[in-house]
Amino acid sequence: MTSSPVMTPASAVAPEARRPSPDVPAPSRGLARFGAVAFGLVVLSQVGAILASPPDAAMGHTQKIMYVHVPTAWSAFLAFFLVFVYSVRYLWGRDERNDRMALGAAEVGTALTALTLAQGSIWGKPTWGVWWTWDPRLTTTAIMFLIYVGYLALRAFTDDHERGARWAAAVGVFGFINVPIVYMSVRWWRTIHQVQSTSSSVDPVYRIGLLVNVITFTLLVVYLMLKRAESARLERALDAALEARMLGRAPSSAGDR
């Protein structure tokens, strides 16, 4: 049985039902604080880098897109690496926690890949003169996006939760094959996309700003992944509680781990 989020406003919940109960899993306050700090740090580091770096001689202000585009692309790679790791761990031990982490990383990674493609298009139009071109880096990134859309669709359209998790884990493992291909595409093939923005390829005047933004953005993405895994934990606890009521037995604590 799968649950869809029940979008009920807080006011619709009876006051007595809103009282915290030790048996009911709740969103983590510590995680919420971590998220607020991560968002704040990203804002500060982006504003700082934008104000501190001069316009590039060739690219003008569009160079500053780098401070959001590179961290977004890097975080998508990181997210898919985590999908791979947690999928292997799930297949090995069938621990639901690993499945939830893989789901969180996959969903965040997919959103970030879509965002990377959008940012790239916005940069490409004034710089290359086109929104899109079938360049090896762009094409392999689009394929990566489609692989993880498939991963999420597989989870969404499989009724049996355990089977869906198993199949998704297999996609999470084999789908990762494309990630190093995306990363190396700018070196393996002739491409109009510049090589990876690393400390050796970026001008020193932009290097610190880029590094700080990569670090703060990574914190934000870790928060989003943990938050999505948390929502999956609560939804599965709800599924268990509803199922227990229908079957007339005490709720299991499986979703509370």
């Binding site: 202000h61 959001v68 948390e230």
Partner: protein, 52 residues
């Protein structure tokens, strides 16, 4: 390519605007999922208490 000191500013603003809309929308989406599941769990716990 850069033809004036402000060249590319509009594109840069657009890239950051799109990025922040997506990030904030996604953060709100996962927050709403957590909240609604938690509220449903509280209702379920209350219902179980009342019935017992």
């Amino acid at each position: 390519m850069a033809t004036s000191p402000d060249w590319g500013l509009g594109w840069t603003v657009a890239a950051y605007a799109v990025s922040w809309v997506v990030l904030i929308a996604y953060a709100r989406y996962v927050g709403a999922r957590s909240r609604s599941a938690h509220e449903a769990l509280l209702r379920e716990a209350h219902r179980t208490e009342v019935r017992s």
